[in-house]
């Protein structure tokens, strides 16, 4: 196996046994970037100098991520490194502070390979909304990698890093993980500190790992999780040793299959792969039953009101006054208008307008408040379901990766791509997407496992044991 294709735990073993030195590993990753990045375009910034500096510091240290090269989505702030959110408006922004997650990774000795591409401000499902360039799916470079964490999932799939961090507001880790054939975990809302994550929709955003296997995801989750005094919404709860729990028995796990997720528009090849996977889980000893999440049909609409409302406010700070891009102008109003007109892309503007409208006097009750009420109903659906089952399994996406340009002119079609992932964010639950097959075009298919709030361990151990009893996760794209 090529060194660049190894996961975190494999690489740690190789380095610990002395078979591979940290330099060799890092060199292999940058050689891989050199040879494939032109085709994949996963990164906004490659931080080679920083990576080797960090290597000097981390060498000989005993952190859990000693000398492991990782990529970080470019909406997570790292001190002294540009953080652009793939937006022209933040093109020159270099944060003077460090996100809590990267601070924790650094304490464990990780090496920063680069900052990965995303849909501008994490708004999109294909990275086509990036203000800089579109990332390609390593499995078929005429297709999208998914989004918004498409840069991170493509980098992991292509071997340009051992693993990565992404962020997930409505599916932005899981959907691209499914499209790129990697593992993507969205933790419970509040499990991981958001400090340093540039906000899209504060009540939905959550940072999570994107990895080559479930055990690596468990390892990274353990590191980045836990209460952070700088984030009031982070939960003051004990974080378990997820790695140690992976091999616990799953025979008494009850799996629920929501009937509302097997609908028209679900690609038959995806459906059949997911159904095979469910049968496979049955053979591993899980009991399976059909459940109902009756308000599923309202999730997309609810999400697009709440997420855009919060976004319209979160993005107000990009006004040209303090940092980032400022347009030439003759007065204040023109400065605001031109800075934002030139600095933001079309999708971001669309969402700011949607959200501004939903919060406006006279519309608030009908849109924002109503959406909050529906959000409660959606959450209650899950509460009810979790009285009967321990985890819920669904397809991650209705289709496999689509072609670049195929949906970009039809926002609604694009939004429907998140139909299976969005409810999870509204309910604040943890969910993981793992590879569960390939379609006839050779494109990866993702299986989504949803858990109870703060019960990441159940979905991790089922995912791990499923993964280890299949071969899907071992396939690498033919780059």
């Amino acid at each position: 196996m090529e060194l660049y294709n190894s996961g975190i735990i494999e690489a740690l073993d190789l380095m610990d046994s002395g078979e591979v030195s940290p330099e060799e590993l890092l060199d292999a990753v940058f050689q891989r970037i050199n040879s494939v990045e032109d085709k994949v375009k996963a990164f906004v910034t490659v931080t080679k100098d920083r990576a080797y500096e960090m290597l000097d510091e981390a060498k000989g240290e005993r952190g859990a991520l000693r000398c492991i090269p990782l990529a970080i989505k470019d909406n997570i702030c790292i001190r002294g490194i540009p953080t652009t959110c793939s937006s022209r408006i933040l093109k020159n922004f270099i944060p003077p502070y460090e996100s809590t997650v990267t601070k924790r990774l650094k304490e464990e000795g990780y090496l920063l390979v680069g900052k990965t591409n995303l849909d501008e401000f994490a708004m999109g499902s294909s990275t086509e909304n990036s203000g800089f360039h579109t990332t390609r799916n390593p499995w078929a470079t005429d297709r999208v990698p998914g989004g918004s964490s498409g840069g991170s999932t493509a980098a992991v799939a292509a071997g340009e890093c051992l693993a990565a961090l992404g962020s997930d507001t409505g599916g932005s880790i899981r959907q691209p993980a499914a499209f790129c054939g990697v593992v993507g975990l969205k933790p419970t809302y509040g499990r991981v500190s958001r400090f340093g994550l540039v906000a899209f929709a504060s009540s939905l955003d959550q940072i999570g790992p994107i990895t080559k296997n479930v055990a690596d995801a468990a390892l990274l989750l353990g590191i980045i999780s836990g209460h952070d005094p700088s984030d009031s919404t982070s939960a003051p709860l004990h974080v378990k040793d997820y790695t140690a729990l992976l091999s616990e028995g799953i025979r008494d796990i009850k799996v629920g299959i929501p009937k509302e997720y097997f609908i028209e528009g679900l690609d038959p090849e995806v459906e059949s792969a997911v159904k095979d996977s469910i049968r496979h889980l049955g053979s591993l000893g899980c009991s399976v039953k059909e459940i109902s999440l009756p308000h599923t049909g309202y999730a997309v609409a609810t999400y697009y009101i709440l997420a855009t409302s919060e976004a319209s406010s979160n993005l107000a700070r990009y006004d040209g006054v303090k940092y980032g891009f400022r347009a030439e102008s003759k007065d204040l109003l023109e400065m605001y208008r031109e800075t934002r007109a030139q600095g933001f892309g079309a999708e971001v503007k669309r969402r700011i307008m949607l959200g501004t409208y939903a919060l406006s006097a006279g519309y608030y009750e009908a849109f924002y408040r109503k959406a909050q009420q529906v959000r409660t109903l959606i959450k209650e659906d899950f509460d009810n379901a979790f009285r009967e089952v321990d985890i819920i399994i669904t397809p991650t996406t209705p289709t496999t990766a689509f072609r670049i340009g195929e949906k970009i002119s039809d926002p609604l079609q694009m939004y429907l791509n998140d139909i299976f992932t969005i409810s999870v964010n509204l309910a604040g639950l943890p969910a993981i997407s793992i590879p569960c097959g390939f379609d006839s075009k050779g494109l990866p298919i993702g299986l989504q496992l949803i858990g109870r709030a703060f019960d990441e361990e159940s979905i991790l151990k089922v995912a791990h044991q499923y993964e280890q009893s299949t071969e899907w996760y071992k396939r690498r794209p033919p780059l």
């Binding site: 953080t83 929709a201 009031s232 107000a316 700070r317 006004d319 204040l332 919060l359 924002y368």
Partner: protein
Amino acid sequence: MNYEAVIGLEIHAQLLTETKIFCGCSTRFGSEPNTQTCPVCIGMPGVLPVLNRRVVEFAIKTGLAMNCRISSYSRFARKNYFYPDLPKGYQISQYELPICEKGYIDITVDGTTRRVGITRIHMEEDAGKNIHEKDCSLVDLNRAGVPLLEIVTEPDIRSPQEASAFMKKLRAILRYLRVCDGNMEQGSLRCDANVSIRPEGSDELGTKTEIKNINSFRFVEKALDYEIKRQIRVIRDGGEIVQETRLWNSETGKTESMRSKEEAHDYRYFPEPDLVPLEIKREMVEEIKAALPELPDEKKARFVRDYKLPEYDAEILTEERSIAEWFEEAVRLGARPKEVSNWMLTEIMRYLNETGKEIEEIDLRPPQLVELLELIKGGTISRNIAKTILPEMISTGRSAEEIVREKGLVQISDTSELEALVDEILSKNQKEAQRYREGETKLLGFFVGQVMKATKGKANPKIVNEILRKKLS
């Protein structure tokens, strides 16, 4: 037709916390621009607010002192608008669920006490400051994130005098609680007023205007007086009041139209998702309640009752907690309450007013005043001498005895010495002595004056009087 005014106030009080409401930056006033800032209070991408516990305590304290109900569950909300001094493009404030609701403050105007309802008190962050130069505008964000309380009254106020009395009482309470320094000129206490008029006896509310920029206590009455008269004039001329925001201009003494209702902002309030709802435990409220200081009204009543002070004295002495405490310390040291009050209300207050200092900033402490009063009582110095040395005591902090000794101001009470002096003066002023004896007794003062002049004020006036009367009869 006679009109009555209906006034409601919206007050912003800057809290005296060490640090800002959502970050650890200092709240100190007057530093170099943008030196008291951090990524949180300048609204950088990805940073998050963390609520300062002291702000919550101050809000609860204030709410309790103003007889409010303290909400066990309250929320922060975002108020969205664009302005360069508002770094996030929204202000974190409270909207639907404020921390305090339904309180009141009693005010007294011309002997009549009225109750003014407090609709709500909520916590929020201050904005920064725009500074306009000749060819550019600059932004100073030192003030951005400084904690504020917004206090909103019911439309219960009926006259500019009541509004002024309300503001004074509110300021006194805030200062008693040590939550706000109450300085309107420096902007740490700000007052906006909603004003409308209606025919006397009517229950309906007229169209209101909002008056902003009332930036001094002096202007509360003036601005409202102007606005009420303006509204009456408009109505009498057959016009209609336009709902609008008006700016008080202290130079012209007028209010001027700033923006109409149509131009008003839509703030698009919604719950702040970066902060969890605030749950306040009963025990916390009880603890704060138990630690509340005695408030102005209670203190005044006690001063009248226990120290037998006139209402007037008690009112003034209790306007400031530090002054009341100064007074009580002096009384505790054995001085007569009315005597202490007299000196405080005259010489000491005059000095404070002239210098703009707080009583705790001057070097004169209660024991020194008491010592001075002892010197008078013991006959060492006269009341007049005391008056002349008090300013020096206040400004230098030196003791009365020291000054008296150094300047040789000890009172001359030696009868034989004074008799000799009186004899001398009478012989020099024989004409006047004659006139006195013929009944022009008001000339006694003239002779006392001569004696005082000769002794540089040190003669014991009581003894001088006795001697003069005896010698002139």
